[in-house]
């Protein structure tokens, strides 16, 4: 999207020429129609007018009241509400409102459950022995904290100057495998929340060791 405005230089020049003289004998350089700027709700991502159909109307309203008080009046003032009912019968309207409230409660409960699950999920940093003196570190469970594993692996690889990759473990779940014994460093990074590795409560992080044979080290 960032490069959208980048146009070929000749056209920009032509457009400037047009603006300067306002009438050109040859066919004027056609300007692209500017896009309509649509303001989306930051809470439910819908255009503002559709918040009422979303599952977070109360929060949407609060957000709008804070950010754009003028627009809030436009959408939620008394007369706006009256006008909105339009051709719909009163009965249908109340039903709609009820449905929305129900939907909202449901969504809230769902969000709560998701948050709880997130807080309960564990991140394990596992040191796995490869040979006698060499180890790899497997980090598992980061995706529950909405961390992009690929990006995290890249960051770790850069940080430790070693290989780091996203692989599926025996259970078929994704985990990051970093070469070398970096468990303590990873723990510190998670504690500080460097780069993309943020938002993990440190209490949920575990360091475990996985030994190949019984008597090692």
């Amino acid at each position: 999207m960032g490069k959208k405005r980048a146009q070929s230089p000749p056209r920009t020049a032509a457009a400037e020429g047009e603006a300067g003289s306002s009438s050109q004998p040859a066919e004027p350089a056609k300007e692209p129609t500017p896009p309509v700027q649509v303001l989306y709700c930051q809470v439910c991502s819908f255009p503002l007018e559709y918040c009422e159909f979303g599952s977070s109307l109360t929060r949407c309203k609060e957000w709008l009241k804070e950010e754009h008080p003028d627009l809030y009046d436009k959408f939620y003032s008394e007369e706006a509400l009256q006008a909105k009912i339009g051709t719909l019968s009163l009965e249908a309207q109340t039903k709609l409102e009820k449905d929305t409230a129900k939907k909202e409660a449901k969504a809230e409960a769902k969000a709560d459950a998701a948050l709880k699950k997130k807080m309960a999920s564990q991140v394990t940093i596992k040191r796995i022995e490869r040979t006698k003196r060499k180890h790899v570190t497997a980090i598992h469970g980061l995706e529950a904290f909405s961390i992009d594993l690929k990006k995290a692996a890249k960051q770790l690889a850069g940080r430790f100057a070693t290989g780091a990759s996203v692989t599926k473990n025996a259970q078929g779940l994704d985990e990051i495998v970093v070469q070398g014994d970096v468990a303590d460093e990873v723990y510190e990074i998670l504690e500080k929340g460097e780069g993309v590795l943020k938002g993990v409560p440190i209490a949920n992080v575990d360091i475990v060791e996985d030994k190949k044979k019984k008597a090692t080290e």
């Binding site: 999207m1 960032g2 490069k3 959208k4 405005r5 980048a6 146009q7 056609k30 300007e31 692209p32 129609t33 896009p35 309509v36 649509v38 991502s45 819908f46 255009p47 007018e49 559709y50 159909f53 979303g54 006008a83 909105k84 009912i85 339009g86 051709t87 719909l88 249908a92 709609l96 449905d99």
Partner: protein, 184 residues
């Protein structure tokens, strides 16, 4: 089409599109939508390569700078994404459904005739009638922006006459699984 869609499991791969194919697509888009070449150029500059994102069930999404612009089912018409349509609302002919239908549309239902023919709905007059199997933007009563887009199953005149059954098959709508994807 995107009622259930998750990028991690439903995307088979990203491939850059050959320039010859890109030319074809560009021509197709220009003929199917009412969009000026200049505007399309601004959104999709010739230099920016198109990326074909292959999804399950023969749905292809085309992205520029990893932002989805339009999608296609088999060799069907090119559907703009809803975000794209919001920016350039005039590229598609519009129909309007009444307020009662919005709720169902947002749940992914196809649009039925009565929703379009009732007091809150709006269909183009006889002289601008839309034939069947055409792309339309679905607007809603009292709302400024489109709420979905789909394909007409009957011509608008037939919709008025029959007034029963599916009128517009919804392709994408506000709040489907394509909507939150700003990048692919």
């Amino acid at each position: 089409m995107f009622k259930k869609f998750s990028p991690s499991t439903d995307i088979a791969g990203h491939t850059p599109v050959k320039t010859s194919v890109q030319r074809q697509i560009r021509a197709g888009v220009l003929s199917q939508w009412k969009i000026e070449p200049e505007t399309l150029e601004a959104v999709w500059p010739k230099k920016e390569g198109l990326v074909h994102v292959k999804c399950r069930e023969h749905v292809s999404v085309y992205t520029v700078n990893s932002e989805p612009l339009f999608f296609q089912h088999f060799d069907g018409p090119f559907y703009p994404t809803l975000r794209f349509l919001h920016k350039y609302p005039y590229i598609l002919p519009k129909v309007q459904v009444d307020r009662g239908a919005i709720r169902f549309l947002l749940a992914g239902a196809h649009m039925m005739c009565p929703g379009l023919t009732s007091a809150g709905g709006w269909l183009p007059p006889v002289e601008d009638a839309i034939p069947a199997e055409r792309l339309v933007a679905i607007h809603a009563e009292g709302k400024e922006h489109a709420v979905g887009l789909g394909i007409t199953k009957l011509s608008t005149e037939d919709i008025k006459k029959v007034n029963k059954g599916v009128a517009v098959e919804t392709a994408t709508y506000l709040g489907d699984d394509l909507w939150p994807l700003k990048t692919l």
